[in-house]
């Protein structure tokens, strides 16, 4: 059961608790029917709630503290993971993790943002906000993958690149720019999946690829709803409106031609059944990788650059 309960999750969780209580304190057969009715009611309630979520509620789901993170997915959907550390330059940024792993037996380089789950691990992971060293570590691993002909899978889940003093001293902007540049012409396939929060350049910094997928309850945009609210409304209070205005959900981005595919989550979100989400993701990634098995690197790069070149809308 969920440890953290969001406001809109409450009615469902309350009913679920009720059912559990009934199960615990009575073996009488006569309430089996009653439980069945309640369970049916729960299912219907969940369907209603989760099909009508606002954009802000989806942002909350994307940030749900029980949601699986990169290392959880790696543990649940890959085998033989070997984590690698450091950018060979300055540090090992804990907000980005990466290494070789196998997906359905196939070797890949898997790289993702990593959040923590409690205060201690969040401080260790810097809340999933990378410094330049994280982007440089990711690039080092991508180049390693390219050198040995392994495809790259990246998982995006960050509230943003860290806006700190040292991050600026070490070139946060340059590190992200360099990754966009190098990922654009990396000669191996890159599959990108947004698994949680895709906040701006901090997310895109490992997000240029041949296929870009989004889990159902995630967001991806140029700015977080809170920051957008603080700048355009001059107050933190308008995050709901900002989320609506930014059109930042998976269906929004599919419609805008930015992502290629939405990966469904269990009813209620990935945290309701992490293993099921990971299983779906494993099958989907494997499917996507198959499409690139015999592709010529030059054509792959050209197609990737053209893919992003098409994005945007204008008139002339």
């Amino acid at each position: 059961m969920a440890k953290t309960v969001l406001e809109f999750e409450k009615p469902v969780v309350e009913l679920e608790q009720k059912v559990e209580e009934m199960r615990k304190y009575s073996d009488a057969l006569d309430i089996a029917d009653e439980i069945k009715v309640l369970e049916e009611k729960i299912l219907q309630l969940r369907k209603t709630i989760y099909s009508g979520l606002t954009r802000w509620q989806k942002v909350q789901l994307a940030r749900h503290p029980d949601r699986p993170y990169t290392l959880d997915y790696i543990a649940m959907m890959t085998t033989d993971f070997i984590e690698m550390h450091g950018d060979r330059c300055f540090a090992d940024d804990k907000a980005i993790v990466g290494g070789f792993a196998r997906i359905e037996g196939e070797p890949v380089m898997i790289i993702g943002h990593q959040k923590g789950r409690d205060t201690k691990s969040n401080l260790y992971r810097n809340f999933g906000m990378p410094n330049p060293d994280g982007y440089r570590k990711a690039l080092r691993l991508m180049k390693l993958a390219a050198k040995f002909g392994r495809p790259v899978v990246t998982m995006l889940d960050t509230p943003g690149a860290f806006p700190g003093l040292e991050a600026e001293e070490r070139g946060q902007a340059e590190a992200i720019a360099r990754n966009l540049f190098e990922m654009s012409h990396l000669p191996v396939p890159i599959i990108v999946i947004i698994i949680g929060e895709g906040a701006s350049g901090g997310a895109l910094g490992i997000g240029v690829g041949d296929r870009v997928l989004m889990l159902e309850n995630t967001w991806y945009s140029v700015i977080s709803p809170e920051s957008c609210s603080s700048i355009l409304w001059r107050s933190w209070e308008f995050k709901e409106q900002a989320a609506e205005a930014l059109k930042l959900t998976a269906p929004d981005l599919l419609a805008q031609g930015i992502i290629d595919r939405i990966v469904p989550e269990p009813l209620g979100g990935a945290h309701r059944n992490p293993q099921q989400t990971a299983d779906t993701l494993r099958v989907v990634i494997h499917e996507e990788l198959k499409k690139f098995r015999k592709v010529n690197p030059d054509k792959l790069i050209e197609k990737r650059v053209e893919k992003f070149a098409k994005m945007g809308k204008w008139e002339e």
Binding site: L165, A173, E174, L180, V222, C228, W233, R304, V305
Partner: protein, 281 residues
Amino acid sequence: MAWFRRSKVSINVNDAQRKDIPDGMWIKCESCGEIIHRSQLEQQLFTCLKCQYHFRITSEQYLSFLLDEGSFKEMDRKMRSTDPINFKDTKLYKERIKESMRKTGLQDAVRTGTGKISGMPIAIAAMDFGFIGGSMGSVVGEKVARAAEKALKSKCPLIIISSSGGARMMEGALSLMQLAKTSGRLAQLSDAGIPYISLMTDPTTGGVTASYAMLGDVNLAEPAALIGFAGPRVIKQTIGKDLPPGFQRSEFQMEHGFVDMVVHRKEMKETVTKLLNYLWA
């Protein structure tokens, strides 16, 4: 002209202070308070004779002194935003665009084209901070990407003059994707062995710094320009301390290895010419 290189000591202007150049014949320097006659300021390429403060200028002004006279041929002059996600905050995005167009006489925050520098053909993009803070949405991204494509196809160097607060919020994720779009074209240009010179002016922050502005074969910056990823206010909030003097200025960026040279505006054309002679001629 050695005295310009010492100028960094005296230039330290708060970002909020830097404004568009006001109308009128006499203009007060925002840094030292000197009153300067407009004609003299123009002659100095809008830099203060006394303290070397660089006023913010438009793309038109920049192109007029960097390019050989009459050589500029503008591309995609009519390209404009369509308000792709029907954005509304306290104001409609459509209205913001209209207002900016009226105020600046421009279609969006960048002008692109071809021209010549000391006789050498180049492709060029010059940004306008006056148009919604020089922010990059679909139009800026597309025009910059096309300028890079032009350089690639006609095999001539590319120069981008940046002046931007970052990606444009009002086009959501589409603005973010312009970072990838422009960087992708620059990768192609680089693979073809064609030089790209990035020229950063005040301010160059956010998504523009985190894409094409930092990707030059050579990165140039005007003195005391604010250059960074996160804005100073956000960083100050994060660390809960005042920022050291000169933080994120051109000289700081050079000190930390991200800018090759800090170049006075009056020496810019000469410097770019020298560089092009090494890289391309």
